[in-house]
């Protein structure tokens, strides 16, 4: 799934604000995003706050940032492979259990959905303010992130779009 897809459509765009860094909520965001892109909608996901964990280049735990608090926060939050379930997380065991249940029922896993999102040309934007707070740099994020933007840019670009907050 490496071919980028050109989206040509007169359908309303979709923008998803991914505020949450919870496994299940991020999964919902990517299901909506890939479903919308595959049915001919232009899709943007704006990641802010805990959602930034999804975009970290390091999928595990790494003490990113300069200050001690940022390092502790980033280490404890971790990356894509450490997203907790919003309920019944069982000390971090649940995302793996949930992933095995998803595989059993032929439901796309989070990494598969993220890969599909790249292939479908879904735009990934990171919130500038949240990056500052967590002392993350652009280089700490995966290269697929198109831009680091503020709320004004996000709103301007979503002027005629459906906006979903996750």
């Amino acid at each position: 799934m490496t071919d980028k897809v050109e989206v040509k459509t007169d359908k309303k765009d979709l923008t998803i604000v991914c505020f949450s860094g919870d496994f299940d909520k991020v999964l919902a965001a990517f299901v909506m995003a890939t479903g919308a892109a595959a049915t001919n909608r232009k899709v943007t996901i704006f990641f802010t706050f805990w959602g930034l964990n999804v975009l970290k280049k390091d999928f595990g735990r790494k003490a990113l940032g300069k200050g001690i608090l940022a390092k502790v926060f980033n280490f404890l939050l971790g990356g894509r492979n450490k997203l907790p379930l919003s309920r019944l997380n069982f000390g971090g065991a649940s995302p793996d259990l949930m992933t095995s249940m998803m595989k059993k029922h032929n439901v796309a896993t989070l990494p598969e959905l993220i890969e599909a999102a790249h292939a479908l040309g879904i735009r990934l934007l990171a919130c500038e303010m949240a990056l500052h707070i967590l002392e993350l740099e652009r280089d700490d994020l995966i290269e697929e992130v198109e831009d680091v933007v503020g709320v004004a840019t996000f709103l301007n670009e979503s002027e005629n779009a459906h906006i979903i907050f996750v």
Partner: protein, 72 residues
Amino acid sequence: MEFLDITNETCPMTFVKVKLQLAKMDKGQDLEVILKEGEPLQNVPASCEEQGYQVLSIEAVGDGKHRVIIKK
């Protein structure tokens, strides 16, 4: 003719796989898709037509499955 079986896929990968497969193909090529009734049958052919592709045929092949031929 390219071939894609999405009977074991669930939403949204049904749409995603068809869309990505069509993106890889040349204009004028045909794609045979095997899909299940319900959501995939209702929406996959329709979303292909929206993209300007031509749905040449839809036929039931038993067991709740359908064969859809799409021309890019």
